[in-house]
Symmetry: C2
Subunit: 255 residues, 2 copies
């Protein structure tokens, strides 16, 4: 039995890609077999792992033409971490998917076809609530919500929760919140501490205990095409994502 | 003669909204009459100025039904700074606009109708290259590109430049680059200095001399519904946006 987790937040720049790559890598280094799926036209998860986006073997073809082939799954610099890359044709996918049948179910079919043997499938979503993100939420068993500890990110949380509710009421009744994850946290600022206090009070156990601190090494590692655990394993960023992976595995044990 | 400037970058969280609000406020405090237009479904420019999004007087109605009325233009806490607010119905706008005629020209018509008497119209775009952003680029005379000095933001620049090129070749031949603006700059990190060096080398005069530093006061001000010049006028963030407004006005003089 495997689990599909979407990493989503329509607010931009909150650490979705950074979480997908580094959580995925930590779980792989802990012995799990992981499939990352990049459905963001920016293809940041793809390039952050040093993979050159290639229009032939990308998720775009599979989403639009429903031709699903094992060639979609690529290797990464980490053993037992695999990737289905994105490419820029995905920009047109939102418009092209609209007319088709089962437009929100396309990704779910692809993942069902390719997920055998994986322990976790992690989907990196774009910063929007359009059809690509909806495909991610419909395909997922649960959602990780990276949350920058700032005002606009907090404002957007309600909108995201409403969208998750709507998806749960329609195409994916079993969709759960895996957890809200504080990212780029700077304990010295009052704003950050206010946001953490408000969110923990309101969402209680839906919030991960692990907090990802602001750490420039996390911003440097994608330029080397490596997850943080390979680029700078002693950094605070690496330690935090290892702790998150442990907490995630512990949470499954309780299921 | 007025000028319409789109603030756009599909990379999320790079400072689009922060730039739209604070540049707009600085220009208004320098005696210009400014109209801010929020076309991001997140409605951050709207809430960042303390305005409650209201489904009746929003850009959504005007875009979809083409009923343009002066009631769209609202006051803000700053004299001579006005706002056309966004609201969450804009999420559906991308899907709804597709079927209609002149789907990329809708915003241009609205602005033409309402822009009399304004010196600058500043459009805050969402983090994507979909129909809402295309409407912004088609309506604009020029584009300000906020660029976080990090790897993924640099990666996305090529894609954005290609899109601007495509818009220039089709619906808006006179679209220019107003400037690339470095945001959240931290001079202590090597990564930031590498990005600044690469971009200035490649884009030369298309890059603003003004650089916006990382400054927590900029992240705090929207929670008070105020631009930085009213929240903390002595902060580094406020000084930087005042300098940007001066540079922008100087650049027009040279036209
Ligand atoms: N904890 C952190 N500390 C410092 N920098 C970080 C951290 N997490 C992410 N970053 C950097 O911040 C920027 C935004 O992060 P990232 O791209 O992962 O966010 P995102 O939500 O995926 O963005 P988008 O909405 O564009 O998809 C990136 O440049 C990234 O390298
Ligand atoms: N120079 C700065 N220093 C510190 N914080 C900043 C700065 N500029 C913006 N911020 C904060 O960083 C976050 C991202 O900025 P902002 O929301 O303006 O970016 P955006 O590009 O509009 O995001 P989106 O892609 O979601 O529309 C916000 O919380 C904002 O308050
Ligand atoms: Mg991302
Ligand atoms: Mg914004």
């Amino acid at each position: 039995m495997n689990k599909t987790i979407a990493v989503s937040n329509q607010k931009g720049g909150v650490g979705k890609t950074t979480t997908a790559i580094n959580l995925g890598a930590c779980l792989a280094m802990a012995g799990k077999k992981i499939l990352l799926v990049d459905i963001d036209p920016q293809a940041n998860t793809t390039s952050g792992l040093g993979h050159q986006p290639d229009a032939d073997t990308s998720i775009y073809n599979a989403l639009i033409n429903q031709n699903i082939d094992n060639g979609l799954v690529c290797k990464t610099p980490v053993d037992s971490l695999f990737l289905i890359p994105a490419d820029i044709n995905l920009i047109g996918a939102e418009l092209e998917l609209i007319a088709g049948e089962g437009r929100e179910l396309r990704l779910k079919r692809i993942i069902k076809h390719l997920s055998d043997g994986f322990d976790f499938i992690i989907i990196d979503c774009p910063p929007s609530l359009g059809l690509l993100t909806l495909n991610g939420l419909v395909a997922a068993d649960s959602v990780i919500i990276p949350l920058q500890t700032e005002y606009y990110a907090l404002e957007g949380l309600k909108l995201l929760m409403n969208t998750i509710e709507r998806v749960r009421d329609s195409a994916n009744p079993s969709l759960e919140i895996e957890g809200i994850l504080f990212t780029m946290y700077d304990s010295r600022t009052t704003l950050a501490n206010q946001v953490v206090y408000e969110v923990r009070k309101h969402f209680k156990d839906d919030v991960f205990k692990t907090v990802i601190p602001r750490n420039v090494r996390l911003a440097e590692s994608p330029s080397h095409g490596l997850p943080i655990q390979m680029y700078d394993p002693k950094s605070k960023g690496s330690e935090a994502y290892i702790e998150l992976a442990r907490e995630l595995i512990r949470r499954q044990g309780g299921n």
